[in-house]
Point group: C2
């Protein structure tokens, strides 16, 4: 009988307790022994549960308990989750987590401390909820040189974008709907400003390319400025708008990493991923494209990923041989402006023909777009792939000429 502790009895934590309880038979057969939640750390009171007697407010009762071999940290946030995780690892307990913020900030350090102490630090649940992605990345795709990871990593924004696309809603209206349905929190900024997707692409990029990529190295835009007009232009172009997290290894070995809305064609592999689903496309030199798809969040999918990690830690108590990355190297992340990308640009321009001529002069061949009820003083187009710095310079020039960009969105091939 393996004994574990759960730090935090929120949505995920209570889900972990529930999954461990409901799937005892399958867990026993796969872990080789039964698993019991011995302790739950939470500052709140939870009277009236069948397991109310297992709560504690004192972390030392967990870290000092030699019977507890695995700690599931599902509190979220960097502090005190970081301190608790470090103490547990140093006490020889494996730690499993769904805490993407902590892994994105401190992953390299926590992985190293786990290694030094002969235990595991696992975080399958930190990306893609219940979709297995971390383990396939470091194990099943081991024979590939990975070149690119592109994903729809945040379910809340994908729900909002689906509503905007399918029902023509404006952003605010779709956000309100997401909040009404419980898909967006009352303070939705981590989702809609792109921060959540940014943490996830950091974790995936660190693992895929072997060196820690920090959130402040990722150029991050949210979806708050998107308009129904942008969505309509995307439709007339033959595509949709998705919030895409992307990390790419360049020929020179450097990475670029961005999070932001993107035009993608309707027949691309990620275009059909709707509502709160997530999809992650992994490109390798031998494997080609593989897409992982499923519910990216939610109590039970996330909890089931945490419990799969608990089972792994119970069954294989030693350190992981392949789940690791090094600390960041200097200059490993290149300036995203050096990347090539096509762009959709929507200008305020009273004279459409003058705008077309100016844009063609700056960007070469462009494809003008239309939409229903297009105002006369609006001119939207898509460029060919160009260095992003050239796109930005061009837009600045157009603004100087009295044709400011209302929207600028990358066009991606994925």
């Amino acid at each position: 009988m393996a004994k574990i502790a759960v730090l935090g009895h929120g949505v995920v934590g209570s889900g972990v307790v529930e999954v461990v309880h409901d799937n005892q038979q399958s867990i026993l057969s796969r872990a080789g022994e039964a698993i019991e939640v011995k302790r739950i750390l939470d500052l709140r009171e939870f009277p009236g549960l069948s397991y109310s007697d297992r709560f504690t407010k004192d972390f030392s009762e967990i870290v000092g308990d030699p019977e507890i071999s695995v700690v599931a940290e599902v509190m979220g946030g960097v502090h005190p989750a970081y301190e608790f995780s470090m103490q547990a690892l140093r006490a020889g307990k494996s730690v499993v987590t769904s805490n993407k913020e902590l892994v994105a900030q401190k992953g390299a350090e926590l992985l190293a401390v786990a290694q030094e102490n002969g235990v595991k630090y696992l975080f399958e649940a930190s990306v893609g909820g219940g979709i297995p992605i971390i383990r396939p990345l470091h194990q099943c795709l081991a024979a590939n040189e990975l070149t690119e990871i592109v994903g729809i990593l945040n379910g809340t924004t994908n729900f909002i974008l689906t509503k905007m696309f399918k029902e023509g809603m404006e952003f605010g209206e779709a956000l309100a709907e997401a909040q009404r349905l419980g898909y967006a929190e009352r303070d939705p900024s981590a989702d809609i400003e792109g921060g959540d997707a940014c943490r996830k692409i950091c974790i995936l990029a660190s693992l895929a390319f072997g060196k820690h990529v920090y959130p402040d190295q990722v150029e991050t835009q949210g979806i708050t400025k998107l308009t129904a007009a942008d969505v309509a232009y995307a439709g007339s172009w033959g595509g949709v708008i998705k919030l895409i997290g992307r990390a790419k290894k360049r020929e020179d070995g450097k990475l670029t990493a961005t999070v932001g809305p993107a035009f993608i064609k309707s027949d691309s592999q990620l275009a059909g991923i709707e509502d709160v689903f997530n999809g992650i496309l992994v490109r390798g030199n031998a494997i080609g494209d593989v897409v992982f798809y499923g519910r990216g969040a939610g109590k039970l999918p996330t909890a089931s990923a945490v419990v799969a990690d608990i089972i792994d830690a119970v069954k294989n108590p030693g350190p992981s041989k392949s789940l690791h990355w090094e600390d960041a190297a200097e200059n490993q992340v290149a300036d995203w402006r050096e990347d090539q990308a096509a762009y959709y640009i929507c200008l305020r321009a009273a004279d459409n023909e003058r705008a077309r001529a100016a844009a063609s002069g700056l960007f070469g061949e462009i494809q003008a777009l239309s939409r229903d009820d297009k105002p006369d003083d609006e001119f939207a187009f898509v460029t060919v792939p160009l260095p992003e710095s050239k796109i930005l310079d061009g837009a600045a020039r157009l603004a100087e000429q009295g044709m400011p960009a209302l929207s600028m969105i990358r066009v991606l091939d994925c």
Copy 2:
């Protein structure tokens, strides 16, 4: 330096040699040591290769070589692959394979012999080519009680069905196109009769549900009888036809397993999987639906999955703790006729109104379908979900009344 042998220098075998050679750096960093192909078994001659000196026609040179720790069996077919694999395992070498026929026939036995000899028998490449599915199934989804696996498991037939759907081709025409492009072999029967998909669903079902499911326990239909008319009716119903392999655990613990063409709605998760791609949907009680998607075949995707298994066997030389299943239990597979399914049925019926009345009398509520240029003596409809035995009985009754079924195809929700 780990030394391995490759049995068979066909498409996959030569791909394995190529991937091991081209990805040395990434393999070294992930396996912890370099990997070298020391021996290649093939009865043919391969002069003029940079590694021509490594070929042998004598398996005893491999099984008797204590330096060789891992054998990649990529010959295909049950014999002599079975005998070679058994000898290698008994000699204390891990065996990795892409051989779905062998795993589907002898998996339980080979897994047991690997266990007894303290080594691994791995077969990630046997299903879904380069898509990681075997390892996620037994590891990442460990915390779930799996209830169902539904997949598009054969790229050749999916290419043919995509051509029939998108270009209105008849089956023979689409098959010829697939052969012209090298997607179908000159003898395509294993693909188009459903045998290949049958082996793959056997492997997935055995792993997911813990007991060996044999090919002859799976009700298997191919796509050779599909017509452009069936495809047109599927379109007018709002869906597509896919060749679906499916295994389901019933409430009473028994399984049902089938392979056959199926109507699925256009907005379902597998409908958008086109051309030679594969997609596998896994349903668990906690995780909900997860779909794995990618290139299901091809030299490099398959070879990369074989090499990932080689890396695993080199890095973790002991027996696997979670990759196993037991031999078949008596009565574990229920009669598929006991299953519930809706059906599409197309009748030869001069009097459409009589056919509608007769069908409604037998099946309850039906939805009549139409298509362009429908002949007057054809009546097609979709039933509600009913026990399959009742569908079969009803069709027999209609035939007795002079209205034989031209086509009968399951309607699935996936």
